[in-house]
């Protein structure tokens, strides 16, 4: 007989996950930081408290920001930029209210963005929050109006919307509402990428499961006063669907074309091939 999990148990496990995230961050191992952040969101499935999901989602984004920064050719202000992540992580308290988590994440995004800009961008662009706000609304309307495009195979519509939002926020900054919008679209994109697994049922699943999210995002974000509670609840539902998709299908293949049947070789052969190629590449860059 197994005892029921309490919120206290989950909170304690998530604190350990956050410990692992912090350790990976300190050691600049952003790939593992991303993985540990995913764990938080997966462990948050066992809780009704949306803030656990939110914490994992924010930490995942931070991992991806620094991973991208590290992979860039110009590392010019990496340590300075890392300070913002360090302070965010150190000030992260699981007990904080949801409002406080959003506020800190917004502050982090607005501060770090200047360090992700190129020299040319730094010289030329100024903060333009009203422009960001108007363009985000325009993009959300576009997504809602043309959502049928999401049914088209190999379309990049959601990714395209997210790309524009990321670019506009990075260059011009934004308010908390822009952070809500980009978070919802990022969550939606993560979930939507699993749609290709449904093959013949893809259209039906997108219509019944993704379209309602597109409509809900547009409705929530275009309200006269955006309600943070609604945003959090919607984001959590999308993330739950994404994490459940991970449990069902596991990691999405990165490059394998849709519908291509893999060659049935044994795991040993596959491993040997992979090691041989890795060794040859290591030799090349020695």
């Amino acid at each position: 007989m197994v005892e029921r999990m309490t919120e206290m148990d989950i909170s304690s496990v998530i604190k350990q996950d956050i410990g692992a995230v912090y350790s990976a961050f300190k050691n600049e191992d952003f790939r593992n930081m991303n993985i540990f952040s995913n764990r938080i969101m997966s462990n948050a499935l066992f809780s009704d408290d949306p803030k656990f999901t939110l914490i994992g989602f924010f930490l995942k984004d931070i991992a991806l920001i620094y991973d991208a920064m590290k992979a860039r050719k110009e590392l010019a202000t990496f340590t300075t930029a890392k300070s913002f992540g360090e302070v965010f992580l150190k000030s992260l308290k699981i007990e904080d209210e949801i409002d406080e988590h959003w506020k800190k994440y917004h502050e982090f995004c607005n501060s770090v963005r200047e360090h992700t800009a190129t020299i040319h961008e730094k010289k030329s662009y100024k903060e333009a929050i009203e422009f960001s706000h108007a363009s985000f609304i325009w993009l959300l309307k576009l997504l809602e109006k043309d959502k049928e495009l999401l049914l088209v195979g190999k379309n990049q519509f959601a990714r395209g919307i997210l790309n524009e939002m990321n670019r506009i926020f990075r260059v011009h900054g934004g308010g908390i509402e822009e952070i809500y919008a980009v978070s919802l679209i990022r969550g939606l994109q993560l979930y939507y990428e699993y749609m290709d697994y449904f093959e013949d049922a893809r259209t039906e699943i997108i219509t019944s499961s993704v379209f309602p999210y597109v409509d809900a995002i547009a409705k929530t974000m275009m309200a006269k006063e955006v309600n943070q509670k609604e945003v959090t609840s919607l984001l959590r539902r999308i993330i739950i669907d994404w994490r459940l998709s991970y449990i069902r299908f596991m990691e999405r293949p990165r490059i394998v074309p849709i519908g291509q049947k893999p060659l049935p070789i044994t795991e040993e052969t596959r491993q040997k091939l992979s090691e041989t190629i890795a060794k040859a590449l290591e030799e090349e860059v020695k």
Binding site: N27, Y246, V256, T266, L281
Partner: protein
């Protein structure tokens, strides 16, 4: 002895006997390109980048000797960076398990179920399966409720103490200054024989005033060499301060409060 190539072909033909020779060849190419190569790229260990200074020296030397086309360090740097970029794209965005090789899951092609807006979880069952990576947790303190126990082995090129980190976040002008100095250091020096450690210390004469100190470690150099480096770095930092878009008063304030110090050992 059977070669690995023969072994692969024979295994593949045995497991997929209906395939023609061409189909098999195409399948093997696809397998390597789409699945094995991404996995190999993620697994491989990439070396550190060559220092920008050594790449620059190579470029200048090549120009002097008329060998513009031959620049192995530059090519190596480009290759490492390109591989890093590919690895970033293959990051394993959804993974929760570090040991799970990307793209190798047996269930990948299986289509099951339809998503629900809210999950229906049997918490009792889930409780049985919930496992925590104890080895990892024992290895670290549960930060941010404490620092990780594991020490970073070698010093990084640039490190900030917690007060510098905090001030970067709280003061935009301080972040700009430190960012500009970091940028200069990174363009002129590489990790290895030199490291820079930024700290905030109280002024000895006026304890209420705080100064930013940049400690420079050059353990492998002689005293004279250390002094030469110190002069060079001081000049570089002065130039950075000159280039800042600030008022003259602010510039003087920065000059007063920023010091460099070469460690004796």
């Amino acid at each position: 002895m059977v070669s690995f190539k023969d072994q692969l072909i024979s295994e593949a033909s045995l497991l997929a006997p209906a395939l023609s020779r061409e189909e098999l060849s195409e399948k093997i190419s696809n397998l390597i390109e789409n699945q094995i190569l991404p996995e190999a790229l993620i697994q491989m260990r990439l070396p550190r980048l060559p220092s920008p200074a050594s790449v620059k020296t190579e470029e200048l030397m090549a120009a002097r000797y008329g060998k513009r086309a031959y620049s192995p360090l530059h090519d190596k740097m480009r290759l490492i960076q390109d591989l890093e970029k590919i690895r970033y794209k293959l990051n394993g965005s959804d993974l929760t398990d570090v040991n799970l090789p990307i793209g190798s899951e047996k269930t990948m092609q299986t289509t099951i179920g339809i998503s629900h807006p809210e999950p229906e979880l049997d918490i009792e069952r889930v409780g049985e399966q919930l496992s925590v990576d104890m080895e990892l947790i024992q290895d670290i303190s549960p930060a941010p409720f404490g620092e990780p126990k594991e020490k970073i082995k070698s010093p990084r090129l640039i490190e900030f103490d917690s007060e510098v980190t905090q001030r970067i976040v709280s003061s935009r002008s301080f972040a700009t200054l430190i960012g500009a100095i970091e940028s200069k250091i990174r363009s002129n020096y590489s990790h290895g024989k030199i490291s820079f450690s930024f700290s905030i210390r109280a002024d000895l004469d006026i304890p209420s005033r705080e100064k930013t100190k940049i400690y420079i470690s050059l353990p492998d150099y002689s005293f004279e060499e250390k002094m030469d480096f110190w002069d060079k770095i001081e000049t570089e930092i002065k130039n950075v301060i000159e280039s800042l878009d600030v008022s003259e008063d602010e510039r003087n304030e920065i000059r007063r409060n920023l010091l460099t110090h070469v460690r004796a050992v």
